[in-house]
Symmetry: C2
Subunit: 351 residues, 2 copies
């Protein structure tokens, strides 16, 4: 509260999360949890009864507050700024709303090549300044806790922009990719430029690491990922400043983990559909993040413990490990089980 902001260098040396990202030794495995501020918390639901989702994202004090609350409540080793992967679509020229219970709607989806010209990559990052303000708010409150900034990865954002919302089979997205690879690539490029600007702004505001969420990349075959997505991921990672760890994450991406690492990311997130030992064998040079099945948190702690032990054992001796779930915390997850998980990770890995 009254501490001056810790200089980045001292946090980089003291934070187990940032050390693990760089493959340096840690006293116990750092842990944070995707969607660690969210609907599973009564306090979050109380705030959301008063303000809509987008309003919460765009009110820096509130966004910082829920981010800080999650760190304090759960005892995790990093915060992740409360925001949404779709925010960047607005300054690009698309209109996004969140309908209650229905998920996001993009009101003017991309249909073909000429629609791509409607969106710009050259966004003014100041239009997303509320995310920067929330980051600064978090840093004032918890200067000694590393904070993760994030953005959606270009394929996931392209899917939303083309499908107009969530999708089951990504038919429209893949059809554009197959029928007009030039237009698809142009869209991916514009998204990549905008994402890079958005992440750079978050780093300038104080984010200590950034994560690219490619939630839907697992819908692709490895062949299509290599041809249509991997080059754009690499371009983004290359364009970000050195010294700030980059994490890539997707679900269902076990078939092309090597490609995620080839982007140059320091950390590759792994979902629970893969043994972490397999990922460690395949990616010796990067830190791994993951990979407990989020539904494990609904079961008894006695069943969670051996699952956590198995993950820690798989990561032992590897370059670096950041414990996380294989996907976000689900609504309805018991808060005390989440706290128990964080304690278990610290306790079992410190032995």
């Amino acid at each position: 509260m009254t501490d001056p902001p810790a200089p980045r260098e001292s946090l980089a040396a003291s934070s187990s999360f940032l050390r693990a990202c760089r493959g340096e030794p840690v006293a116990s495995t750092p842990v944070w949890l995707m969607r660690q501020a969210g609907r599973f918390q009564a306090e979050y639901r109380a705030i959301r009864e008063k303000v809509g989702f987008l309003e919460l994202c765009k009110t820096p004090d509130l966004a910082a507050e829920v981010t800080v609350f999650a760190v304090r409540q759960l005892g995790v080793d990093a915060g992740i700024i409360f925001a949404d992967i779709l925010l960047v679509l607005e300054p690009m020229g698309l209109r996004v709303t969140f309908e209650k219970g229905d998920g996001p709607v993009i009101h003017d989806p991309i249909v073909g090549a000429r629609d791509v010209d409607r969106v710009t990559g050259e966004i003014d990052a100041a239009s997303l300044g509320y995310v920067g303000d929330a980051i600064r708010g978090f840093k004032r409150e918890l200067p000694r806790v590393p904070l993760i900034g994030f953005a959606g990865a270009p394929f996931t954002l392209a899917s939303y922009a083309i499908e107009g919302g969530g999708s089951k089979n990504y038919v429209a997205t893949k059809r554009l990719m197959y029928e007009d690879p030039g237009a698809f690539s142009a869209l991916m490029e514009r998204l990549s430029v905008a994402i890079t600007r958005f992440l750079s702004m978050q780093i300038d505001a104080g984010a200590d690491a950034v994560q690219l969420f490619d939630s839907w990349a697992g819908a692709l075959s490895p062949r299509d990922y290599r041809a249509h997505v991997a080059p754009h991921m690499k371009r983004i990672v290359d364009a970000l400043p050195d010294g700030v760890p980059v994490i890539t994450f997707g679900t269902g991406t076990g078939g092309f983990l090597e490609e995620l690492a080839a982007s140059g990311a320091d950390v590759v997130g792994v979902d629970w559909r893969l043994d972490l030992a397999d990922a460690a064998r395949r990616l010796p040079g990067v830190t791994l993040q993951g990979n407990l099945d989020p539904v494990t948190l609904f079961g008894p702690v006695s069943a969670m413990k051996p699952a956590v032990e198995a993950i820690l054992a798989a990561a032992r001796g590897h370059r670096g490990h950041v414990f996380n779930l294989g996907h976000g915390i689900l609504p309805g997850t018991p808060v005390d089980h989440v706290r128990a998980l964080v304690e278990l990770v610290h306790e079992l890995s410190a032995r």
Copy 2:
């Protein structure tokens, strides 16, 4: 039509599909497609305007007709009897209906241990005799075409029985698995006994191979699959008669393909999220089935061709390969693209 039914032995020797299942040389790669009789066909939709889905499954003449039609229309190398994985739940004691547009509903789902006692594995397979009749109907019409029988695998059926229908996160299923592994295992055992009886009946009726659809096994971590599912799969495969190839298939199962093979299945189906070359390297001893992304069929044939070539190249030199999609044909898929795919597979693999 007027041919006498071909004896099983002669079909086993002449059919490229059955030869590939056993790892024997073939003149060109056999191909069939999951959901090759379905809503993408105008003729199927016309029948479904007159009869409901369950009624179609339970009317042997019609079920045989749509099965035969798909083989003739598409030129595939095997039929798969038109039926549904949930049919077996009825004689087990659960009430299943298909609501228009909403998918299946199980009206009295399994909640806890005492509900497991409500279901029996010792089904009278005669109660599913309509599937046997449909198989015999197909064999009268197309005696020289191998026919695949099928059943849902126990985990997928357990998920339906517990969730009461489709599910996104399988929270109830996994919670029972974690909280009461004994009850979960008892349910899986009963399902396995019923599935074995159902498949044996289909083989008696003339099915030349059988496929176990574990559509949702990919929701599990490899660790949970090994502990809670694999032993039941092995028990089913062990109990089936020798000489009839068994295919296992699931989506999102790339993290534990080895376990699918360890069941003793002759053929392992692979979805499109994995390079087939990876699967071939990991499973030298089994035939592989797959693995084109079904959405590829929505794109131009010019984009489909290199994808097919890549799959055929990955399988070259492997023990055996049955070409298929990585999941079922989607509604809206252009029929002429499906036919083009079958021709491409035959043409490119015969070179």
